[in-house]
């Protein structure tokens, strides 16, 4: 086929055609896959929340969620109430787990009252209060679901990240890091102090649960600082809810 592919008009036509073809191909792929992707994200949130309160399929060393097929049923079974706290008002909302923490943080910056989701779970007669938090790691966002008891003692936590370094910061979603938080106190002498991911921790095996510290991951200083910061800033917002809980 003899064609003058050097002509300007041909070049422009080719470019336009290419953009149209590739553009519509990608748009088609994105819109036809979107429902599946959204469903995945929804199930993942349920799995995360359940994981934090100890409903998971962990084996000896690795963290495993309940299967996606079981997640909706287990979520219904274990999560008794989904609350939204907004400016001191507490209301129930069974879609609270779909609240986008990132959007709420942006709204709070713009001066709006932030909606704080809180999930009340029950397992073996014990209540779990699970709060989602979100912050900054080294490269991108990090977030977590933290399960607490009435006294803000951590009962379980699930950490995740968007793009931390594999082998270093990405290890915040490993059992050895997440499990350190279990039993750790968020309060010290009755006031909220948070939990610091500390380097040079005198307690690397984490036997002291009231020192408000867990051991840091070597080589992941900035990710660790991000974890400390998001615990301090986001979980602090729930303190008044827990104080009311005890007074009632």
């Amino acid at each position: 086929m003899a064609m003058d592919t050097d002509k300007n008009s041909y070049t422009v036509l080719f470019a336009v055609g290419m953009v149209l073809v590739v553009g519509s191909l990608l748009a088609f792929a994105a819109s036809s896959l979107k429902p599946t992707i959204d469903e995945n994200k929804r199930l993942e949130k349920q799995q995360n929340i359940l994981y934090a309160m100890g409903v998971n399929e962990n084996d000896e060393s690795s963290a495993n969620f309940v299967s996606t097929a079981d997640a909706p049923d287990l979520f219904k079974k274990y999560i008794k109430k989904q609350l939204v706290i907004q400016g001191g008002e507490v209301s129930e909302d069974d879609q609270a787990y779909l609240i986008d923490v990132k959007k709420e943080q942006a709204n709070a910056k713009a001066g709006q009252e932030r909606r704080l989701p809180l999930f009340v779970g029950e397992k073996d007669g014990k209540s779990y209060y699970i709060a989602p938090i979100r912050g900054k790691g080294l490269w991108d966002a990090i977030w977590a679901y933290v399960a607490m008891d009435e006294n803000m003692v951590v009962q379980g936590a699930y950490f995740d990240h968007k793009g931390e370094t594999p082998g270093l910061g990405a290890n915040i979603k490993q059992r050895f890091f997440m499990d350190d938080f279990i039993g750790e106190h968020l309060k010290a002498n009755g006031t909220f102090k948070g939990i610091t991911v500390a380097k040079g921790n005198a307690d690397p095996k984490n036997l002291d649960k009231t020192d408000n510290e867990v051991d840091a991951i070597a080589g992941a200083t900035i990710t660790g600082d991000g974890v400390s910061a998001m615990i301090r800033s986001d979980l602090k917002l729930y303190v008044s809810y827990f104080n009311n809980l005890k007074n009632n």
């Binding site: 086929m1 064609m3 592919t5 050097d6 041909y10 070049t11 080719f14 470019a15 290419m18 953009v19 590739v22 191909l25 990608l26 792929a29 994105a30 896959l33 599946t36 992707i37 995945n40 993942e44 060393s61 690795s62 490269w139 991108d140 995740d160 968007k162 793009g163 370094t165 594999p166 082998g167 270093l168 050895f176 690397p204 095996k205 070597a218 080589g219």
Partner: protein
């Protein structure tokens, strides 16, 4: 005669050893340094590149006679970018867990110089079948190095392989650790990846002197 003619099988086998894109052509180094701290990330990255380079080479080869030469680099970029986005979306829809492990690295395939290099150097001048073999071969050559580097970095840096504690538990002091062995945290940092790649280059060239460039 086997499945492939001698000339065709050369296309696959050459990049695995004597014309390896990483150790001989020194392309695609950036990702080899960035993602090889864990074996799993290395393996998945290799598979993704295998797909993108295999399909991309075929697409470019089919289009080779109608691509205007003035904008050929842009056309190549669009093909890579489109393929990478599709891979990313499909992973998110059908292998959600996996896509989260890979996160940004899938997107980074776009910047992998091996891909543009093969489009420009091979697919623009050869038919689809040969281009496909060339793509698979080069991606495999890239993958082999990635997996070797990932293997040593995870083993020596974290004492694990694919997340399994093969050397014992560093905190409980079992296995090798009971003898006083320590993980080398330096292995997890990028400079060490460069040194591992350097060692592979050294070993490869001392075994085959023909590969040594004379200046």
């Amino acid at each position: 005669m086997g499945l492939l003619s001698k000339k065709d099988s050369k296309l696959i086998l050459d990049p695995l050893a004597d014309n390896n894109p990483i150790t001989i052509q020194v392309l695609g180094i950036c990702s080899a340094l960035a993602i090889t701290a864990e074996l799993k990330a290395s393996i998945v990255m290799s598979i993704s590149v295998l797909f993108v380079l295999g399909v991309g080479n075929v697409v470019i080869s089919l289009l080779r006679n109608i691509i205007p030469s003035k904008i050929r680099i842009i056309v190549q970029l669009i093909v890579v970018a489109a393929l990478v986005i599709i891979v990313d979306q499909v992973l998110k829809a059908f292998a959600y867990e996996l896509s989260k492990t890979l996160s940004v690295f899938v997107g980074l395939i776009i910047t992998n110089c091996i891909i543009m290099g093969r489009f420009e150097a091979f697919a623009l001048g050869n038919g689809p079948w040969r281009s496909f073999l060339d793509g698979i071969g080069n991606a495999a050559g890239y993958g082999v190095i990635l997996i070797i580097v990932g293997f040593f970095r995870e083993l020596l840096g974290s004492g694990t392989l694919l997340g399994f504690k093969v050397l014992g538990d560093p905190i409980e002091k079992t296995g090798l650790y009971s003898l006083g062995y320590e993980n080398n945290g330096f292995m997890l940092l990028s400079p060490m990846a460069l040194i591992v790649v350097g060692i592979i280059i050294w070993v490869q060239r001392s075994r085959n002197k023909a590969l040594i460039e004379d200046h």
